[in-house]
């Protein structure tokens, strides 16, 4: 396939669905730890640390998902608290760049992500239909983001990093 993936900050999002597709979004979010685990299970520690052209390694991509989970849950709180704006994200990804995820074991990162994501899912399953359609303004996109849109964004962000990990594996010729 000759097609390159779109860069995350160049992605366009469609947040216009009036239908409640939240159950599908929860299932996508629930599936990410298993997909990460399966995808990376044959990758050695050495290959998990490889930074190709100075970009994030496989461990750093997993660690980044872990680093961002408090932001997503914080934004969930912002919406429930009826804040005007969602809290900002650090677009330079300082947390991930400074975390030294390469010093951790890959399986520990995956395990920690599984636990963290399970806590998020527990929160999502308690939301009412009314909560799902509440919104606050996204600080970068400047558009209203409903709870449903926020977590669709998170599911797409998960996919983005799964694809990135897949591409690293292809570059390293890992089957």
């Amino acid at each position: 396939m000759s097609t390159q993936q779109t860069k995350w900050f160049e992605r366009k999002f469609d947040f216009n669905s009036e239908q409640n597709i939240f159950p599908s979004i929860i299932e996508r979010l629930r599936g990410t730890p298993a997909r990460l685990e399966e995808k990376t299970k044959s990758v050695s520690e050495v290959n998990s640390n490889a930074k190709i052209n100075g970009r994030w390694s496989i461990k750093e991509n997993i660690g980044h998902l872990l680093d961002l989970e408090p932001l997503w849950v914080g934004r969930l709180e912002d919406i429930l608290n009826k804040e005007l704006y969602l809290r900002t994200a650090d677009l330079t990804n300082t947390k991930t760049n400074q975390a030294n995820h390469n010093s951790e074991y890959k399986n520990d990162l995956v395990k920690e992500f599984r636990i963290t994501r399970a806590n998020t899912i527990n929160r999502l399953e308690l939301l009412s239909e009314e909560n799902i359609f509440l919104s606050a303004l996204h600080p970068r996109l400047k558009t209203p983001m409903r709870m449903m849109d926020l977590f669709l964004f998170v599911a797409d962000h998960d996919d983005h990093h799964l694809v990135t990990i897949h591409q690293i594996m292809q570059t390293l010729s890992i089957p």
Partner: protein, 167 residues
């Protein structure tokens, strides 16, 4: 209760650069289902609740949809005007061991993933009319549509299995 599939509003039109994400999702369904049904009693997996499809029937249905998608990818690249309708061959999935149902799905899914990966940029932009939705659809749209369709059935499977320990 999840929104019924045929009531979904769907917007097509993503470009070829979005295909890697959709293929990632399509591959992810195999893994998610495998983990969901692991260790679950055969009786639970074969049970129809309120006359609705069992877990095995939901998975078998995804495998059948992939057979149709496989044919449709060929039709799209051949430039047919209208895609084939979705016609299913009746199979009694509830009498099959779960491993056989999963294998059937896995085989079809992996065939499709391979086929999508061989398509050129030009082929990914070709479109044909979807017979039910009456919209022009490209291979990229088809992959997205099937990923959404997967999610729908995974939600349904989760509803069935929710009281069991794996979930």
């Amino acid at each position: 209760m999840a929104l019924p599939w045929f009531e979904r509003n769907l917007k097509f039109g993503d470009g070829p650069e979005m295909l890697p994400f959709f293929l990632e999702r399509l591959g992810g369904t195999l893994i998610g289902l495998d983990q969901k049904v692991k260790g679950i009693d055969n009786k639970i997996l074969s049970e129809r609740i309120n006359g609705k499809w069992s877990v095995k029937e939901n998975i078998g249905h995804l495998a059948e949809i992939d057979e149709i998608a496989n044919k449709r990818i060929d039709e799209l690249t051949a430039g047919v005007a209208v895609l084939s309708p979705a016609v299913f061959e009746p199979r009694n999935y509830n009498s099959w061991p779960i491993e056989k149902v999963l294998d059937f799905f896995k085989r079809n899914r992996l065939n499709n993933l391979k086929k999508y990966q061989t398509l050129s940029h030009k082929q990914l932009k070709k479109s044909s009319l979807h017979p039910r939705l009456k919209v022009q659809m490209t291979p990229v749209d088809l992959a997205w549509f099937d990923a959404k369709h997967d999610d729908h059935h995974v939600v349904r499977i989760n509803e069935i299995l929710k009281p069991t320990p794996n979930q």
